[in-house]
Amino acid sequence: MDPVLVAQGVVSGILFGGVYSLMAVGLTLIFGVMRVINFAHGDLMVWGMYLSWLLATRLGVDPAVGFVACAACLYLLGAALQRGLVDRIVDAPHEMQILLMLGVALILENAALLAFGPEPTRVRSSLTAWTVWVGPLFVDMARLTAFAVALALAAGLGLFLYRTDLGRRMRAAADNVYGAQVIGTDVRRVYAVAFGVGAACVGAAGALTASFLPFSPALGLSASVASFNIVIIGGMGSLVGAFVGGLLVSLAESLGAVFFRPSLKEVVSFSLLILILLFRPTGLYGRRLP
């Protein structure tokens, strides 16, 4: 095996890992705070991608800037979903929650199909053509930007959760709803913000990748499954776990593509998942089983 090829695999794996981490952080935040699995997570990402496409084709906004607007739209969509639907089933049995989210996922995916058609598309960005050579390795600027922004957003989310009053209340509600209510937390508001922030994370992840990852409405499902994978591997509800898990899974997939073949990269991440479930079902950073 050519060492340059392997090194290139490591670099692109880590660069894409930032995006995976951001997706998984959004999912784990929603799960950690209200114990609801967002089956529509990948479809929200696809909507982030199409919004960035709309911004780029209609208004000429480069996705490297437009992702902010996409994240804001997805925040509103997420908060609205929480207020309108998820709020009614937060205390329902989990199969009901899963079914409701599956319904939302079906609607979002097929609404995208109706609106944009099934053909894969991508967004033109001034960054995609720009590559930098570091010795024998090349770094694609669009991917590097996506990585840097994803890292910054995840760090920002960490600061928000640990340094602001609302963030602390969110962690309190995740830990003990009753206790959070006792100290005067508006749990419904916290839930809506958490869902909105989770959706904004994955929407930003979508907008950032839209310039180098061809997308179609059908991508939502595999993006959801990839996020679930990462979150279980990292430990459900753990933000650090989701972040590390994203980098790890992306690295494993990228090396899998180098050593086997690109279409088998998912087999690598699923095998990782099964190993984790066999030997450490709480995940890398999980403390206890839900």
Partner: protein, 315 residues
């Protein structure tokens, strides 16, 4: 209730003699999805373990019987049992992984989804089983190869499958095992405290359910004459499998059948209607709305509601 069931069965047995070919086809699909829903119901309804990856068993069953038929010339009438056995082994493996640590709810859902997706990706990459293009079965019309000139045969085979699975569910419900399943579903810790081996009960339900689903895979493959990784293992098929029993009433004998009678014609008509208008995917939006509606307004499913209404009128 039994009399209504037997009367309906008599009508369905006589129906192909008078019905149009289109109606026969829709009924065949109703029975087939009713069968898959009933098979899922054993683990998803009665035992309350929500498997969202049941397509994995359809795929394993279908691919096994087809490969045995294409490569070894083995008749699908035998191959379907081999496929069912392999699907049951897979179900046992997934169940073992999931139930060993008492993984409940979320973990089990994601585990089953992950296995179905894993198998989909593997099949798309193994050229010996057709790879991403899939397998095609040439039509010979040989009943020994599970191919029939007369589409009414498929109707009766599907009806037999649905009735058979329903009998299994009905018998289980009346046995000690059925009571164990209900105990596990309602309160697992309490069941365990009373001495029920919940791990074994859940595992058995999973094995039985995946076995039946695997047998259904053979029918699916030989009814469609082609197998693609996406259609055989994909999440859309898993959703088709779980949505009917849940709409009809999970954990009841009649639920999956009622659900299939409600949803299959709706799906076929809306697919036809929206498909002609070029509105692909619109029927799945209808599904999504229906799922949300059921969760919010009819969480126990249609059958329990209907049964209560009938009882009230009978009084």
């Amino acid at each position: 209730m039994t009399w209504i069931g037997l009367g309906a069965l008599a009508v369905l047995l006589a129906l192909p003699a008078v019905a149009s070919p289109y109606l026969t086809t829709v009924c065949t699909l109703i029975f087939f999805y009713g069968y898959l829903g009933q098979a899922w119901n054993l683990v998803g309804g009665y035992a309350g373990q929500l498997s969202a990856g049941h397509a994995a068993f359809v795929g394993v069953g279908g691919y096994t019987a087809t490969m045995l038929s294409l490569e070894a010339g083995l008749t699908p009438w035998i191959g379907m049992w081999v496929g069912g056995a392999l699907a049951a082994a897979l179900g046992g493996g997934i169940g073992y992984l999931g139930f060993r640590f008492g993984l409940r709810g979320f973990y089990f859902v994601l585990l089953t989804v992950a296995f179905a997706e894993l198998l989909r990706v593997i099949t798309s990459n193994v050229d010996a089983v057709g790879g991403a293009l899939g397998l095609y079965i040439t039509f010979t019309g040989d009943p020994w190869q599970f191919q029939f000139q007369d589409t009414r045969v498929y109707y009766y085979v599907a009806l037999a499958l649905m009735v058979g699975a329903t009998l299994v569910a009905w018998l289980l419900e009346r046995r000690r095992f059925g009571a164990y399943l209900a105990a596990v579903r309602e309160d697992e810790s309490a069941a365990e405290a009373l001495g029920v081996n919940t791990f074994r009960v859940k595992l058995l339900a999973m094995v039985l359910s995946s076995f039946l689903t695997g047998i259904g895979g053979t029918f699916y493959a030989f009814y469609l004459f082609s197998l693609q990784p996406g259609t055989m293992f994909g999440i859309p098929l898993s959703v088709e499998i779980i949505i009917r029993p849940i709409v009809g009433g999970a954990g009841t004998v009649a639920g999956p059948i009622l659900g299939s009678f409600i949803l299959t014609p709706l799906a076929e008509v809306s697919r036809l209607y929206f498909g002609q208008g070029g509105w692909h995917g619109a029927h799945l939006i209808v599904y999504g709305l229906l799922l949300i509606g059921v969760v919010l307004f009819l969480p126990e499913g249609a059958y329990p509601r209907l049964a209560r209404a009938l009882r009230r009128r009978g009084r």
